[in-house]
């Protein structure tokens, strides 16, 4: 099993899956801001996308630029099967931690 993904890496990978064919940097940033952390910086998302790609969990292709972007290309991302497996492992690890736990915890008598 590969190293478990961090919470932010999971948020970025899930955003890429959720956005489908429209998963490019800014769209991922907006999704992560809406669902995970409001004040997240663009640099954090870009560096995470770069890292996930170098780990082989994401693939990317360049798309055409638009006027609003001053003609600069968009990079579209797609989750690779390795990325899906890594998300699966992360989810299983969390489920394992919670398994058998009664929630909310019962307060024992005698403890302050």
């Amino acid at each position: 099993m590969a190293a478990i993904l961090g919470a932010f890496e999971q948020a970025v990978l899930l955003a890429v899956i959720r956005l489908g064919d429209e998963a490019y940097g800014r769209a991922v940033l907006k999704d992560v801001q809406a669902r995970h952390r409001q004040g997240v910086a663009a640099g954090a998302v870009h560096s995470t996308l770069e890292r996930l790609q170098s780990k082989g969990l994401l693939s990317s292709r360049l798309g055409p630029g638009t006027v609003v972007r001053a003609g600069r290309a968009r990079r579209y991302y797609r989750v690779r099967p390795e990325g899906v497996r890594a998300l699966d492992d992360a989810r299983r690890a969390i489920d394992q931690l919670w398994r058998g736990l009664r929630w909310p915890p019962q307060h024992e008598k005698g403890f302050a």
Partner: protein, 201 residues
């Protein structure tokens, strides 16, 4: 006068300077798109520019903070030796710390040149990382002096050049580190170009 619709050109160039050469266009494009579509209409130009500066600062910080910390650790390690293990012959220590400093300075440039394929990025990374190192080193020295200012340590500090020299040196190193960053970026950029040529072949 035409009203500007994008971020300040220098801030845009700064982001472009610090990101991977292959991602330059899409990263700066994403930022411009966000600036124009979301930030500018919501908060106006002054605050939108501030937002962009914060983003640009984040890219600079991410690219240089570890190098700055490494330089500061090397500097503080030398100061620790001089303060707690006093000597009269500083030649060996000076040689080791100079070689370490030069190696780190060149590595900053090499890494930046490799990543960004830009010589200017190497010089800028050298400048920024050594400025961060100066702040960290001065803060570290101040903490060390606050904790250890007994007569023996003070005598060792005076014997190694004095506290003022210790505090000035990290600032004086900014200029040579900028030059080392530029020099290191040359092989970094060449290596990247050669590897890209090989991949295309």
């Amino acid at each position: 006068m035409t009203k500007r619709r994008g971020p300040p050109a220098w801030a845009d160039a700064l982001v472009g300077l610090m990101v991977d050469a292959d991602d330059r266009e899409n990263v700066t494009g994403d930022l411009i798109e966000e600036y124009r579509e979301s930030i500018l209409p919501a908060v106006g130009m002054t605050r939108a520019d501030l937002w962009y500066f914060r983003q640009a600062f984040g890219y600079v910080w991410d690219a240089t903070v570890l190098w700055g910390a490494l330089q500061a650790v090397a500097f503080l390690a030398r100061a620790t030796c001089d303060w707690f293990w006093p000597t009269h012959d500083f030649s060996l220590r000076a040689s080791i710390s100079t070689c370490t400093g030069v190696a780190i300075g060149l590595s900053v440039g090499l890494w930046s040149g490799w990543r960004t394929a830009s010589l200017r990025a190497g010089a800028f990374a050298g400048l920024t990382s050594s400025a961060i190192a100066a702040i960290m080193s001065i803060a570290g020295l101040a903490l060390m002096f606050a904790a250890f200012h007994d007569p023996a340590t003070r005598a060792a500090i005076d014997g190694s050049g004095g506290l003022s020299e210790c505090l000035e040196l990290p600032v004086l190193l900014i200029v040579p580190n900028t030059a080392l960053g530029l020099v290191g970026a040359v092989p970094g950029k060449l290596l990247r170009k050669r590897l890209q040529l090989r991949i295309r072949e």
